[in-house]
Amino acid sequence: MSAATDSVYRRFLRHRLGVAGLVVIVLLFGFCFLGPVVYHTNQVQTNILAANLAPGVQGHPLGTTDVGFDELGRLMVGGRSSLEIGLAAGLLATAIGTIWGSVAGYAGGWLDSVLMRIVDTGIAIPALFLLLVAGTIVRPTVGVLIVIIGVVSWLVPARLVRAESLTLANREYVLTMKALGGGSARAIGRHIVPNAIGTVVVNATFQVADAILLVAYVSFLGLGVPFPGTDWGGMLSNGISYTYDGYWWMIVPPGVAIILVVFAFNVIGDALRDAFELRLGSR
């Protein structure tokens, strides 16, 4: 580990809320991915006879859903899709945005203008609408949702990285490398992106948090992971229909899970920003 990454690491550990966030994320991942190994439930076949059971009844610690799935087991399965989609879509958006932004900022001139006007157009068109159109054309699966959410969320990282790359492109070491005959790909890959890595990493954590929220909204719109699969947003909006029957166990656990994971990724992002000593205006 180099001295620079070592000090980033130490500064992160000093940030107590950030470390707490990291612990929460690790626990949630363990719960969703290792939980089903220990706690076996049937999350494919419905069982109407065991529907709407309150917590504790018939050996269901968190009760059952409207079609008789064990709620605790469902929370693990649903969390798996939420975390998978959120993480993969957030990283995909960051990757697209980083490449797009660093090329635009480094190239400058007409290419920069073209690339950034495309970003402006994407920002102007509400993501919700693009999600709706995509939802009517393709059947949503975890993979499809990753691509769709990633593709509507790369615009902000593109702007951030472009701003960073614009200043880096005129640094002496980059100019020297160019004078020595280095190519653009080398400049971007070896100098621009590594030097913007703080911005990229911090933004990636926020992107993941936003992607997890967006998945919840997509499910609320009825375009989420199809039955019998689910995600926390899908569980939540399904549970909401039973609010007035008093089935709180279908609403509170997924709601709290979403808040917890989005909160945790945000405080990790804050801690990373302090650790990298960044000044990211907008976040």
């Binding site: 203008s113 102007a124 068109i125």
Partner: protein, 317 residues
């Protein structure tokens, strides 16, 4: 300044054209194309072919795009499949209501976020900063539909202080007459945007406090209070205004959710219902208006910012 205005306006014009190209292509990607949009779902295939021929929809796409633009410029956004009303008249009816609700919840969010962000910056890394930041972040992390549910259960069911639904009415004054019904929608919208604004103000104030002009002001003996609330805040607020321009699509996304939960008769609910019923002319009309508003909004914000802050003119995005 003149050069900046021209350049920035040209950029905005390019983006508007790109937006119309995207909506045009989406309209054509739909089954049946624009003929369906105008004739409605019950039109037969022969009617559609006839319509395409007489209206030039069998012509090459670039020429069709041109006539689409001409129609747009005449305010013709097509006709709703479901509501038997032109999209333009629907928008005229609905847009002011959404503006009213969104403006009020954004105003509430800003009134709370600006002092909070400044206070947090001045007390950064102390207990008060952590506690308030965390509370605001919980608001941000809560899906609006979940928050709305909790608010309705607490303030309309358990303690029946407020109505669980937004007021219905055709005019703005009818909506305002039942203001109590607007409280929960306003709060829901404000809570979810509060975090974005207060974090922005907090980090912007911190950034500004490290600037040379602050050091100069301190050296001249200006009081700390005056530095923060007059010098720094002025800089932070101008960039916050610029942020608002770009924030319009996010606010619209929030409006769709809030309006559909509380059944508030604005553009968001119109969009939501159109989405449920595949009413594409309405969807595309709303998207076009929101997109153009965003472009114009961010243009206006940038120009305002440039007028106030000369440094912005140099750094054209």
């Amino acid at each position: 300044m003149g050069r900046f205005v021209v350049q920035r306006a040209a950029q905005a014009a390019v983006v508007v054209v790109l937006v119309t190209i995207v909506t045009f292509l989406l309209l054509h990607a739909l089954p049946g194309g624009p003929a369906r949009g105008i004739l409605g779902l019950k039109a037969t295939r022969i009617q559609i072919e006839q319509f395409n021929k007489t209206n030039g929809f069998d012509e090459p796409l670039p020429r069709q795009y041109w006539s689409y633009l001409v129609r747009l410029l005449h305010g013709n956004l097509g006709t709703s499949y479901k509501l038997n009303q032109s999209v333009a008249s629907l928008l005229v009816e609905r847009v002011p209501k959404t503006l009213l609700l969104t403006a009020m919840s954004t105003a509430v969010a800003l009134v709370l976020a600006v002092p909070l962000g400044v206070w947090q910056a001045l007390h950064r890394h102390r207990v008060g900063d952590h506690v308030t930041s965390s509370l605001v972040l919980v608001g941000y992390a809560t899906p609006a539909f979940f928050l709305a549910l909790v608010l309705v259960i607490v303030f309309a069911e358990k303690w029946p202080l407020l109505p669980p639904e937004a007021p219905q009415g055709t005019s703005i004054s009818a909506l305002l007459a039942h203001f109590s019904g607007l409280v929960l929608p306003i709060v829901t919208g404000a809570v979810t945007t509060l975090a974005a604004f207060s974090r922005y103000v907090r980090s912007s104030v911190l950034d500004n406090l490290a600037e040379d002009y602050v050091r100069t002001a301190r050296a001249k003996g200006v009081s700390e209070r005056r530095i923060v609330w007059i010098h720094v805040l002025r800089n932070s607020l101008t960039s916050l205004v610029a942020l608002l321009g770009y924030y319009l699509p996010v606010l619209f996304g929030g409006a769709v959710v809030v309006e559909s939960i509380y059944n508030y008769p604005g553009v968001g609910l119109l969009f939501w219902n159109a989405a449920q019923q595949s009413d594409y002319p309405v969807l595309l009309g709303v998207v076009l208006v929101i997109s153009v508003a965003t472009v114009v909004g961010s243009l206006a914000a940038d120009l305002a910012q440039a007028a106030i802050d000369p440094r912005v003119r140099g750094a054209l995005r």
